[in-house]
């Protein structure tokens, strides 16, 4: 493969504290050099003038759906979506059919990923067999198969003693446990956030306390076991406070927040740009649900301050029929890989974050949270020797969300028709261009 010289861009590499107009030279699948006026006569040149150059984004929370739900997404379509969104590494959630509670499923996903080649997949293994919350999966075997974390995402491990055992195993294996924190007894049929909007719409509500109670229990278990607990998709102000306190106490706790919980509120269920009257927008149905404005602001502030380590998309693609139905029958989830940067850019434009922080939460943040450099040296950075994964994007460019143009099979997004900011121009994975933006008519 020829070397690739990315020239003239503003390089933002938070892991190495670089924010400067420099060139990046990629050679033999790794970063060869970063510096001013680099030259390599044999290299292809990618002109990044006027654009930002950052390490390829890392998503700790992606649903690729294969095997089992190929009508929603395949590994290939999901990785194409990742590349289009600037992500070069995605951590694949195990809730496939069959679930990744067995190394054979993990190996299948890794084979499909390497056949695609559009992004790196780091697999996540199930915590419990069949994700049923009754008996532990063979966690040691899953770790040996390459799982970078364990999660029963989509479901809370309601049995506290079982969760304790899982955390003890996770600690022994040196793997984080990514925790979907919603106490099902409090959710009890709730399909959106409990509050004035659910009262208006007559929809059963799930209180924010369902998350807070779940986080509190598992922080206690993390303290008991000394395990690495990762709180997935934080959505409430009170959970942010609990996480901040736990970190201050020295617990090994990390956390992620989705772009949609930082950008949208429960009102998205009621109001949608292209719908007149009450929307009952099934594309805004997601677990945990979109919350109140004060929760949204608290999550965003926790992300900015680093209480929450990173942004993760919880990319949850669904087929049209899964969403084109009554609200309470709709599958929960938002297709998020291709809008993540645009949402963060919109938040930067609102003054909620600065651009280097936004980039950090998509690169160094997730890499550090799960210590991924242990597996892939230099990942999430542009240090020499790091993987040749980078994204070139126009930070100022506004664009309209047209789900029909998604690479993902899941066109389910409540952001349809909305203007976002920050457009991916080129994505490079393993030194190879895997995505290039083409202007639409």
């Amino acid at each position: 493969m020829r070397a690739l010289l990315v020239r003239g861009g503003r390089v933002i590499d938070p892991a190495s504290a670089v924010d400067a107009r420099v060139d990046v030279l990629l050679r033999d699948g790794t970063v060869a050099a970063v510096g001013p006026a680099l030259a390599d006569p044999g290299a292809d040149v990618l002109d990044a003038t006027g654009a930002v150059v950052a390490p390829g984004f890392i998503d700790l929370h992606t649903h690729l759906r294969e095997p089992g739900d190929e009508h929603k997404e395949t590994v290939a379509s999901g990785l194409a979506a990742a590349a289009a969104g600037g992500f070069t590494t995605v951590c694949a959630m195990p809730n496939t059919r069959p679930p990744a509670d067995d190394p054979a499923v993990v190996r299948t996903v890794l084979e499909l990923a390497s056949a695609s080649g559009l992004a790196r997949v780091l697999p996540i293994g199930a915590v419990t067999r069949d994700r049923a919350g009754r008996a532990l999966a063979d966690l040691a075997e899953l770790a040996a198969a390459g799982c970078v974390a364990f999660s029963d995402d989509g479901a809370y491990v309601a049995d506290a003693a079982l969760m304790r055992s899982a955390l003890e195993w996770a600690r022994a294996l040196g793997v984080p446990l990514s925790d979907h924190c919603e106490d099902p007894a409090l959710v009890r049929g709730g399909t959106m956030n409990e509050g004035p909007v659910s009262a208006r719409l007559g929809l059963p509500g799930a209180p924010g306390a369902a998350e807070v109670a779940a986080v509190a229990r598992d922080l206690a278990l993390a303290a008991l076991t000394d395990a690495h607990l990762h709180i997935a998709h934080v959505s409430t102000a009170a959970a942010c406070d609990l996480i901040a306190t736990a970190k201050a106490r020295g617990l090994h706790v990390t956390a992620e927040v989705t772009p949609h919980h930082c950008f949208l509120t429960e009102r998205a269920v009621m109001e949608r740009a292209d719908v007149e009257g009450l929307a009952y927008d099934t594309d805004a149905r997601v677990n945990p649900p979109l919350r109140s404005e004060s929760d949204r602001r608290a999550c965003l502030e926790a992300l900015r301050a680093g209480v929450i380590d990173c942004v993760a998309t919880d990319h949850a693609p669904h087929a049209r029929t899964d969403k084109w139905c009554e609200f309470d029958r709709a599958a929960p989830g938002i297709s998020g890989l291709e809008t993540a940067l645009g949402v963060l850019g919109a938040l930067v434009a609102q003054g909620a974050l600065d651009l280097p922080t936004a980039v950090a939460r998509l690169t160094a943040g997730p890499a550090r949270a799960w210590d991924l450099g242990r597996r892939v040296p230099g990942i999430g950075s542009l240090r020499p020797g790091a993987p040749a994964d980078l994204v070139v994007f126009d930070a100022a460019r506004e664009w309209m969300v047209h789900p029909a143009r998604f690479r993902s099979r899941g066109r389910n997004t409540p952001l349809a028709g909305r203007a976002l900011r920050g457009l991916v121009l080129t994505t490079v994975h393993g030194g190879r261009v895997v995505y290039r933006h083409e202007e639409q008519g």
């Binding site: 409990e194 509050g195 004035p196 909007v197 659910s198 009262a199 208006r200 719409l201 007559g202 929809l203 059963p204 509500g205 209180p207 719908v275 009257g277 009450l278 929307a279 009952y280 029929t321 084109w324 139905c325 009554e326 609200f327 309470d328 029958r329």
Partner: protein
Amino acid sequence: MSERAIEARPSAAAGATAWRHHHLLDVDTLSRDEIELVLDTAAEMRGILERSVPRAPALRGVAVVTLFYEASTRTRVSFELAAKTLGADVVNVSATGSSIEKGESLVDTVRTIERLGARVIVMRHASAGAPYLAARNTAASLVNGGDGWHAHPTQALLDAFTIRRHLGRVDGLRIAIVGDILHSRVARSNAWLLTTLGAQVVLCGPPPMLPPGMGGVAEDDLLPPVQVTTDLDAALRGADAVMALRIQLERMGTSEAPVSRAYARDYGLTVARLQELAPRALVLHPGPMNEGVEISPDVAHGAASLVEEQVQNGVAVRMAVLYLVTGKGA
């Protein structure tokens, strides 16, 4: 407007306010004048129903389909009788015994019914918002016959009609709605409708059955401007009308509600409790009633009770709604 106008010259029936709604999904989008138009039209319809041969074929040739995903007696039958009184052709579809049992989606079912010729689809569904999805996907007029916990617009209209008929007005009245407010589409639609008409509305129920945020400071008209209390006597004090809601017996004795004996003691309407009401106060219930739980038999069948008249007025109000959404009042 006169009964004769409804039969002979539909355009004369409109009065000063024009009806601009193709669907009736809830009452929260209706102005006070529009609500008055429905109630005035319903008064004319009631006149038709009191004739020896109650027929006024304003909807001759119009196909009305009732599409009920949930069980109902009074709502479905009163829509059917309303449509037939106006000369419409009526077909009833229920979830059992139709393609819905075979897994047909809501949108496909509604489109199929429209293609079969329906001008109006009256729909009841257990999922809040289902009629909104249906309305966005059909050219037929969609009339909401009750969706989940969300809305029951014709019930609220017939309640207001009944109150107005007996007290001459709704404006300025104090009206208490008592029971399981959280799960009640009747309470939600009435809260919007009665406050729009100028009534002071008090919602009262056990703490777990009050919707979150209701009664608080309203955020840009998100919720109707009502009072909320858990104290029945306070709710009834000086009220001009009280509406008891049906309590679902299967919720009794769960985390949501006390056992029925305690419920009857704290929230049941009894003759003794009614002493708190204003003189000539009215008692309403949307039915079906659990006598001895939310309402005692002597109140349910007492002098102040309008329960049976509500049912009767339901036909007139639904005639008015069908007449207006089909453009006959335009």
